[in-house]
């Protein structure tokens, strides 16, 4: 048995929550494509510690994870869906863009909408054919603006974080879209009921290059 096979075997044999966490951490550490199916499976267990380790491991493996995960999404287990969305967000591969656009505004689970909104801000645009970038960025902007109206505070918070990240990547290529983000932020500072989100918007405005570039 190869080293990775042994690590996978150890995960399969784990018979306690603690041991599962430990063995998943070891497997994630290996950063080996052979670990993908096992790490994806762990996302569906009700063990938040092990899931965090699996998410980190899958993000480290990167692009090869995306097609497998798209094919094996567990649409019934919303916990697993939320963790998977975090993996897509962490990798930033535009292959998951359609899924994230849909999930951010229409998934039944707020944890999934939250992770998708964050992920939309961290798409690696250089991986998309140049002629598709502008249309895709406009879609992302539209979706995130909509997500700032979500009924759940945590999704609105994530939408602000997503918009901030998007704004930073757009600053040079599409200044017009950046000004839409700033206008939205300025409107939200007045209309947003949650102090925590207001603070996050102020932080985004003060901290980013958003204002100076405008």
């Amino acid at each position: 048995m190869s080293d990775v096979q042994q690590l996978i075997e150890a995960v399969n044999q784990a018979d306690s929550a603690d041991l599962l966490l430990k063995t998943v951490e070891d497997l994630a550490e290996a950063t080996d494509q052979a670990a993908i199916p096992t790490l994806v499976e762990v996302l569906g267990f009700n063990n938040p510690g092990a899931a965090v380790a699996a998410v980190d491991g899958l993000i480290k493996i990167g692009d090869p994870v995306v097609p497998y995960l798209l094919k094996n999404l567990d649409s019934y287990n919303y916990g697993a869906r939320a963790w998977a969305t975090r993996v897509f967000a962490g990798i930033g591969d535009p292959a998951a863009l359609d899924l994230l656009l849909k999930a951010a505004v229409s998934d039944f689970s707020q944890s999934v909408r939250r992770a998708a909104a964050k992920g939309l801000g961290s798409i690696i645009w250089s991986k998309l054919p140049a002629e598709e970038v502008i249309t895709a960025q406009q879609k992302v902007l539209k979706t995130l603006l909509l997500a700032t109206e979500d009924g759940e505070w945590v999704v609105r918070y994530a939408a602000v974080v997503g918009l901030e990240a998007l704004g930073n990547t757009l600053a040079i290529s599409q200044p017009k879209l950046v000004s839409e983000i700033i206008n939205k932020f300025q409107a939200l500072i007045i209309s947003e009921p949650e102090a925590a989100i207001q603070a996050r918007i102020k932080y985004a405005i003060n901290n980013g290059q958003l204002l100076t570039d405008n």
Partner: protein, 270 residues
């Protein structure tokens, strides 16, 4: 949601809910209406009056001798924020049904009215020595967790000497309720640290409950420990939001470095 009836997808209007609560024939409908009025925050005078009546109901009895409708009415009154409920709920603290006393203590905590403090304190009579399990029941003599949490939230600084011994109570939930209240009342770090230790305990339920407690009291030194807890990100985000709100309350409109640290942790958990 332990107080959410499972098989009632029924859509009600405010008028129907009030009428259902007032009628005497269908006990199930009354019970559901009481819950519904709280859930949808129906603050109309008539709704409050009907709930206050339900608080004295004798008809709806559980096999254990309890009063299910009273329990639901008390919970609903806590959510509605009407101070007229304070006195009737305070009287409920002496009622024989444990769960009515518990619901009343939780409701009084939500109503933020300090009048009830002496009555809450009375439930701690006998201290930790008296706080034992009732034979044959899954609960202690009094709803200590709810009472102590209410005293903490209501700022009952006079009760500090009575609450402190409960930080050593053998029931974990009571112990942590006492740590939470003691932190609220004294702002001493050692009680916040007790809650932080609970974050690394073996029981996921207790870790979750410690997350909620730390968020509710806004113990700022807990931010990193919260982010590192083995629990769902959604719970950690709620706890960190509580810390952030506390920190924002304490300062001028400028965003402090501490607030920024908390927001960075929140960002990483999204």
């Amino acid at each position: 949601m332990k107080d959410e009836p499972k098989n009632e997808a029924e859509q009600l209007t405010v008028e129907q809910a009030i009428a259902n609560l007032k009628q005497k024939e269908d006990l199930g409908k009354r019970y559901y209406a009481a819950w519904w009025l709280g859930k949808f925050r129906v603050r109309e005078t008539e709704a409050i009056a009907a709930l206050l009546m339900a608080l004295e109901d004798e008809q709806d009895r559980a096999p254990d001798g309890g009063y299910p409708l009273r329990r639901n009415a008390a919970r609903a009154l806590g959510k509605l924020g009407d101070k007229n409920a304070v006195e009737p709920l305070t009287r409920c603290l002496e009622f024989p049904d444990f769960y009515v006393r518990e619901a009343a203590a939780q409701a009084l905590e939500m109503l933020h009215d300090r009048q009830c403090i002496p009555s809450l304190i009375k439930l701690l009579d006998g201290g930790v020595a008296a706080a034992t399990r009732v034979t044959g029941k899954p609960h202690l003599v009094q709803p200590y967790e709810a009472v102590i949490e209410a005293l903490g939230t209501l700022g009952a600084t006079g009760a500090v000497d009575l609450i402190e011994p409960f930080t050593q109570h053998p029931t974990e939930k009571v112990k942590y309720a006492a740590a939470r209240a003691m932190y609220q009342l004294t702002k001493e770090d050692r009680y916040g640290e007790m809650l932080i230790r609970a974050l690394s305990g073996d029981d996921l339920q207790l870790r979750r409950s410690a997350l909620m407690d730390l968020g509710a009291v806004g113990y700022l030194k807990a931010s990193q420990a919260i982010a590192d807890t083995l629990a769902e990100n959604s719970m950690k985000l709620i706890a960190l939001k509580g810390l952030l709100e506390t920190n924002l309350d304490n300062q001028d409109p400028e965003i402090s470095t501490q607030s920024i640290n908390i927001m960075n942790l929140m960002d990483s958990l999204l």
